[in-house]
Every structure is written in C-alpha cells, then in structure tokens.
C-alpha cells in the first residue's frame, strides 16, 4: 500500500511538472508572440490629446507630453485640448480633474492659420515650422495653408519675416453649425408647471 501510494504521489508530481512545463511553454510563447510594443498607457493618453503639436505644454509635440503624463506630469498643460481633454485624461488616469494651467496659455476657440498671399515672399520658414506639413509652397513661391490639415498651433506665425500669417477662428457655417442643447433657462430656470405659467400670463 505504502509503495503504491508513494508511486501515485510521484505520478501526480510528474503530471504536475509536465503541466507546469506545458503551460510555461505556452505562456512563454504567448508573451513573445503577443508582445506589446511600447507603453500602452502612453498611446491611450496620446489618443486623448488634441494632436495640435503646438508645444505649448513645453514638450516638442503631443506624444512627448503623453510620455510626460505617463511619468507623472500634471495633466493640465494642454490649452488646445482645454477642460474637455483634462477631464478625459482625469477619467483615464483616475485623477482629480483640475483647471487648466494658465502658465501654458488659455483655451481658445479652434483657429486656423491664414497666409495673406499677396504679402508672402516665399521664404519657406513657415513650412519648416509647421509640425503637420499643412503649408504648401516652395522657395520664392507663394505659400498657402491646407486648411483641413491645419491644427491651429500658432507655430508658423512667429517665424514669418513679413508677418503675413493670421490665426483666424474657424467660422461657423451651415456646414459645421451645431444644434445647441435646449437652453438651461428652459430647463432649470423655469421649473414651473404649465398651469402656473398660464396663471401668470392671465
């Protein structure tokens, strides 16, 4: 009996060992096969940032700031993203939402660069400054902004030697106009029941 039980214990141990080896191999393979490149949290943060690449946060682009945030930097350094981005980041990172840090600029409506084309001397300085290649032109040729690609980052304004670049707010047209939510006065300011209102009028 004793021998038998010892044998069964050995068999059990062997079986466990074999299982451990098999699963170890599977895990090892999986960790190689499904390896995650880079830090996924950085990418998640980067997805929330507005990608204007304006550098107002003090980093040379949004990705470096995302890396900064992942390393514990404050989340309120992004003026183009504004409060919405801060809230989204706070949500993602489980932090307290905070107010935008004024040091890095204030939240502005979305802007787009506009080159006054007859004043452009074709120096290509703005082209070199544009982080998203949204300015088209060549040396001694007039430049123009690809409005759809412009992030409104402001970086092209400074290098222009003839000051012919303006940042203009994106105009509201019938194409981008938005329905407003029913105004809050309708909702909270006038919490009357209809008969009260009628009573008032009469």
């Amino acid at each position: 009996m004793d021998v038998l039980s010892l044998e069964s214990v050995i068999y059990a141990l062997l079986a466990l060992l074999a299982l451990a080896l098999v699963f170890g191999a599977i895990l090892g393979f999986a960790s190689e096969r499904f390896k995650v490149e880079g830090n996924p949290i950085v990418d998640q943060i980067n997805d929330l940032l507005p990608q204007t690449q304006c550098g107002q946060c003090g980093h040379p682009g949004c990705k470096p700031y995302a890396e900064g945030i992942a390393n514990g930097e404050p989340i309120n350094k992004c003026p183009p993203g504004g409060q919405a981005t801060i809230n989204a980041l706070a949500d993602l990172l489980d932090l307290e939402p905070m107010a935008l840090d004024d040091e890095h600029g204030e939240e502005k409506p979305p802007m787009v660069a506009n080159i006054r084309e007859d004043e452009c001397i074709g120096c290509t300085k703005c082209i070199q400054a544009c982080p998203v290649d949204a300015i088209l032109g060549a040396a001694k040729q007039m430049h123009t902004v690809i409005t759809d690609e412009c992030t409104g980052c402001d970086l092209c304004v400074e290098p222009c030697p003839v000051d012919c670049i303006d940042m203009v707010p994106i105009a509201t047209t019938t194409q981008n106009w938005q329905w407003p939510l029913p105004s809050s006065s309708e909702q909270s300011g006038m919490q009357l029941i209809a008969t009260d209102k009628q009573g008032e009028v009469a």
């Binding site: 980067n46 990608q51 047209t173 938005q178």
Partner: protein, 684 residues
C-alpha cells in the same frame, strides 16, 4: 371606391395622428405665381458638396442655363430658373435651421423667360442607362421630399446591387403639406412616364406607389393613370405619421426593414418622392433641368392658401404675398411641416429644391412651446417612436452628454420625426436634444479623426526629418572617413612615395587633384619669379617648358596690366583709388619687364623665343586648345609629383633615412617623366 388592396400592409410600430390641416391648401389647383424681382439661388440646396459657380456677375443667362456645377460625387448643379442677369454672388439668408447665411447667386429676371436650347432624349428606351443617369445628374435633380440627396447618386451608388423594388413615395404624412397630393392629382401622366423611365433604367420587378388613405383623389387619379401598366401598383397605406419616411414606407409596403448603417439600396429597394420622379420625366423627356418645384403655401395667416409651382430661388415673401398674407396676424414662418420643419427668422429666404412647404402661422396656430418639465418616465414617447428606440433614455444620456450610451442606444437611427416630443406630457423638446447630441458626437468624431490625421502627419514628418538628419550624418561620416583615408595615404606617400600611389590618389579625389595642380602651379610660379637660380637646375630639355611657364606668367601679368589700364580712365583722376591703381600698374609693369628678361634669359630655344617675346599675349591665346589644356594639367600633375618626391627626399636626407636612395630614384624617375611630357608638349 377603389379596388381592394392586393397587398398586405405591414404596420410599423408607434406613430402619431396629429391634426392634418391639409384641406386648406387643396381647394385650388396648382398656381403659377408671377416672376419675382430677384431670384436667390443658394449654391448648396442639396446634401453633399456645394456647387461651384460657372457664371460671373453681370453675365446674361437664359432659362435652364447651368449656373453652378456639381463638385464631387455627392453634389448637384444649379440652373437658371428664368432668363436674366446675374447681379452678384453674395451671402444671403437661406432656409436652414441655423438661420446662417450662405453664398447665393442673385439673378435679376429680364421678364422674357427665354429658354436656352434644350436637348431632350427622343426615346429613352433606346438610351443607355449611364447616359440617363448622367442626364438626371446634370439636370440637378435631388430628392424633393426633403432630404435633398442627389437622385443620380442614389441610383448609381450601388452598381452591383440589383434593385428589385422601386418605391414611389406619395405618402406625404406631415400635416399641412399637400404638394405631393396636388402633384399626383394634376401630373399623374408625367409621374407615370417618370416611373417608366426609372423602370427602363433600373428594371425593378415591381413598382409600389405608396399613398396615405387621406388622399382619395390622388389615389383615384394614380390608379387611373397606372391602369394597364405592367408592374406598377398603387398601394394605399393607412394615415399615420410618419409613414412618409422612406424607410417606414418601405416597411409598410414590403415588410422589410433597412438594416442599421445601410441604405435601402442595400436590400434592393430604391425609394423616390413623386416630385423627384416628375423632375426625372422633365429632364429626360423635355431636357429641362430642375428649376421649379411644387410648394405648399399654407397657414392661418394666408387668405389664399394653396400650392404653387415656384421657381427655385423665389423669395418666400414673394410667394406669401401671392398667397395673400395678412401681416397683422402673421407670427411664425415655418419651412416644412409642423413636425419636422423649422421656423425661419426672415421671409427673405428663397425656395430651394427641398422647400416643400411654407407655413405662415398665426400666434394662435403655433403658440410658444410650454416650458419643459421633468421627465416622469411615463413611456409615451417609447410607444410613439416608430423606430422602437427608447426616447427617454436618449433624453437622459443627451442631457448628461454620455456619448457612449447614446450610441449604444442607437441615437443615430433616430429619424427626428418628432413623434416622441409630440406625445410628451412634460413638453420636453426631445428632438432638439437628439439633434444637439448627434451634432456633438459628429463634431467629436470629426475632431478625433482630424487629430488622428494630425498625429499621423506629425509622425511622418518626424520620420522624414529623422531620415534626412541620418542621411546627412551618414554623408558627414563618409566624408570624414574619406578624409582620414586620404590622410593615411598621404602619410604613406610621405614615407614611401610612389608615383602610382600619388597618381591614384589624385585620380581618386578630383578636388585633391585640383588642389595639387594649383599648388604645383604656384610652386612653379614661385620658382619662376623668386629663384632665378632654379631654372638653371633642371636639365637642358626642361628649359622650353620653363619658357612656357614664363610665357604664361607673362601673359597673365599683361592681362592684369590691360585690365588695370582699362579700369583707370573710369576712375576719378587724383582719387586715392586711382593713385593706388596707378601704383599697381607700375608694379605690374615692372614685374612684366622682369618676367620678360627672365623669359629671354631662360630661353635657349631661339625658334620659340622670338615669337614669345614679340607677341606673348597673342601666342598664348591659340595655345588654349583642349589638347593643350589636358597636357598642361598632366604636366602640372607630374610637376606636383616631382615636387612631392623632392620634398620627401629632402626630408629623408635631413633625417638621414636609409630610404634616401629609393627616394632619389623615384625623384629622378619623375623628373624624367616630366621632361618627356614636356617634350611631347613642345613637339605638339
């Protein structure tokens, strides 16, 4: 009165029965209002990209002439509704919810109403499908029911799919609107002709004309017009709002539901409004573009409500005056019906292709909405919703801007029919919440897409800059490597100078060779001017190249002299520059004389010397042939090699190296080579 419906009508869930108010505008036939003083033609009267003007201000245009061409796949052109002059392209209020202005062409009619030449298709039955589609597109036909989706795009967007059913939408479920009703009553023949054109083009198995049972006259007329036509069936549907929605009507007539995120063409069904089909008939049979439409003018503030065939671009105020507007009681102007339409801030807005109705209401007719109250979760909205959504849930989520939950609850399937708001006992403006939430989500999506694109562009730019920097670095490294090798080689040459090596070196690097040549020249010049003893050193045959060298020096000095002399008269007499120049000239002249004497002294070949002395400059010039140049370069190279060898020898001698003998030998070899080369040069 009519035949028993052959078709089972599949009732859709929900729906409401608002007061119809249709009888006011059906008492009189379709009228044609007088020409207005100006027509306002927005460039964007359809869904999709705005049209692009092809006429300029001041241009005279004829009725039906193209004014603005379509831009892109989903777009439609705009045509002149009458003849006249284009006065300007300006921002003008348009019938849009926002009340914003859009760019519009302003046409001042000349009153002649003169058509441009039309090219109708004689027999559409023999025409290619593509040609007909193109005609419909070029005629600027868009869905006249309200959405304004370009009709040609709809029929050609899914080429592969087979259309088995054509649904003709004559349901017209919105209260007040009777434009389609009157059109079917008065233009049944054109409508049937249009249907036949579409039958020819799309070859559907069946054509179902859906008409609500509150339009008995239209049903009777259509049944009469369709009698004996194969495959066309007039179907009466019960009056229930919103049966006129294309997808509700498809459900009613076929029992099929268009899946989420796809269009009716995807399930083989195409749906056109009756007005659109009449426009197709006009475009194919008469060649006329879409320049007018039937519009209902109604509302209690009008004394003569009715339907008019209004030119596109006619200002609403013109039509309202035609319909007898009472400005004292007039309170609200609504475009579209009271359920899905919207109020307009101004009566200056024009009729556009999608304007099916203008309601001029009085204050009693359209009182201000009562204040919204809290949702009591009564569930009436859910019962009324024809799409079976959960309106109150959507309302909560829209209020809290919970976009994920809104999409989860299929907000984008909402057709904004307003049935939920109509039944809401708390008078919550539900549809406005949904519209706001939809716009918010769309904007958010667009922003995310743009930021994604910006990210990609930024990364690509970074990669490009890095690649450029890396390339530069690599080039710099390669150059450094080359310089290092050269240095090594030089060092090697210094210790063991070999002709071949020096030559290879010179060949390997043209710049280096050029520098060497320049150095050789300089050295030669120095030898010529500074050390008169040196020319004596070389062996006899080397004297003639020496002569040549001197000759070059001579001619160069002469050229300089000439230049200076030429410059002199231009200078102001007595100025410091002129004096300096004079001094220079004197110096050069002196040098020239010295060179001349040296040259004479050095010359031992009498045959060559006289020519050189007499006219050195002229003698120099013909010597500048390519062959000569090449030889000169070779000579210079050899001289340089010799110099190097001599230098190396000197170094070696100084150091007392044991290589002195080999170096000396190398020098002699080089000297010999140089002499040979010079000889051949002289002979040549």
């Amino acid at each position: 009165m009519s035949a028993i419906p052959l078709r089972t009508i599949h009732d859709f869930p929900g729906g409401v029965h608002p007061q119809e108010n249709k009888e006011q505008s059906t008492r009189t036939p379709i009228a044609i209002p007088p020409l207005p003083a100006r027509l306002v033609l927005p460039l964007n009267q359809h869904s999709g990209a705005p049209a692009q003007p092809v006429v300029s201000a001041g241009e005279h245009v004829l009725k039906g002439q193209l004014l603005a061409k379509a831009t892109g796949f989903v777009s439609a052109p705009v045509h002149a509704p009458t003849s006249g002059t284009i006065s300007s392209l300006e921002m003008h209020p348009v019938p849009h919810w926002s009340g914003l202005e859009e760019s519009c062409l302003i046409l001042l009619p000349d009153g002649k109403d003169e058509w441009c030449s039309l090219s109708p298709i004689e027999d559409y039955r023999t025409a290619e499908r593509e040609e007909l589609v193109e005609r419909i597109h070029d005629a600027g036909i868009v869905g006249l029911g309200g959405a304004g989706f370009p009709a040609a795009v709809k029929m050609s967007s899914r080429k592969a799919s087979k259309i088995h059913t054509l649904v003709v939408n004559g349901a017209e479920c919105e209260p007040y609107i009777t434009a389609d009703d009157m059109l079917m009553r008065e233009r049944a023949a054109q409508l049937v002709s249009g249907i036949e054109i579409l039958q020819h083009m799309l070859a559907p198995e069946q054509v179902l004309i859906g008409i609500e049972d509150n339009k008995p006259e239209a049903i009777a007329t259509m049944e009469k017009a369709c009698a004996g036509k194969a495959g066309i069936e007039v179907c009466t549907v019960p009056t229930k709002y919103p049966s006129g929605d294309a997808q509700r009507l498809i459900w009613l007539l076929t029992g099929k539901e268009v899946p989420n995120d796809s269009r009716s063409v995807d399930i083989g069904i195409l749906c056109y409004n009756v007005g659109t089909i009449v426009a197709v008939h006009d475009a194919i049979v008469h060649g006329k573009p879409l320049i007018s439409r039937i519009t209902t003018l109604t509302g209690s503030a009008l004394s003569r409500p009715g339907n008019v065939e209004a030119l596109i671009g006619t200002p609403a105020e013109h039509l309202l005056v035609f319909a007898g507007i009472d400005n004292d009681t007039f309170h609200t102007l609504i475009q579209g019906g009271p359920m899905m339409g919207h109020t307009l801030d101004t009566t200056a807005v024009p009729v556009i292709k999608t304007s099916n109705c203008f309601i001029a209401g009085t204050a009693q007719e359209f009182p201000a909405a009562p204040p919204a109250q809290a949702c009591i979760r009564c569930g009436l909205c859910a019962d009324a919703c024809p799409i079976e959504l959960l309106p109150q849930q959507l309302h909560w989520y829209a209020k809290s801007q919970n976009h994920d939950q809104l999409q989860h609850h299929n907000l984008f399937d909402c057709i904004e029919c307003g049935a939920c708001a109509y039944v809401c006992p708390s008078a919550i403006p539900l549809v406005q919440y949904y519209r706001a939430a939809k716009d918010e989500i769309r904007t958010h999506k667009a922003r995310t897409e743009k930021s994604e694109r910006s990210r990609v562009r930024f990364e690509q730019r970074q990669a490009r800059l890095e690649a450029a920097a890396a390339e530069k670095e690599a080039r710099r490294k390669a150059n450094a490597e080359k310089a290092r090798k050269l240095k090594e080689a030089k060092a090697a040459a210094a210790t063991a100078p070999e002709k071949s090596e020096a030559k290879a070196e010179a060949e390997a690097d043209p710049i280096q060779a050029a520098i060497q040549r320049a150095k050789a020249k300089k050295a030669a010049r120095a030898a010529g001017t500074d050390s008169p003893a040196k020319p004596a050193k070389p062996a006899r045959p080397q004297l003639s190249p020496k002569q040549k060298e001197l000759k070059i020096q001579l001619s160069m000095a002469k050229a300089q002299l000439k230049k200076s002399e030429r410059a002199l008269p231009q200078m102001e007499e007595g100025s410091p520059e002129a004096n300096k120049l004079k001094d220079d000239i004197a110096l050069v002249q002196k040098q020239l004389e010295q060179l001349q004497t040296e040259f004479d002294a050095a010359s031992s070949a009498p045959a060559e010397a006289p020519a050189a002395t007499e006219k050195p400059v002229k003698a120099k010039k013909p010597a500048l042939s390519d062959d000569e140049k090449k030889r000169k370069i070779e000579l210079a190279m050899k001289k340089a090699a010799l110099k190097k060898a001599e230098r190396a020898l000197a170094v070696a001698e100084e150091a007392g190296s044991d290589q002195v003998d080999t170096l000396r030998q190398a020098r002699d070899e080089k000297r010999q080579a140089l002499a040979d080369a010079e000889n051949t040069g002289v002979q040549a």
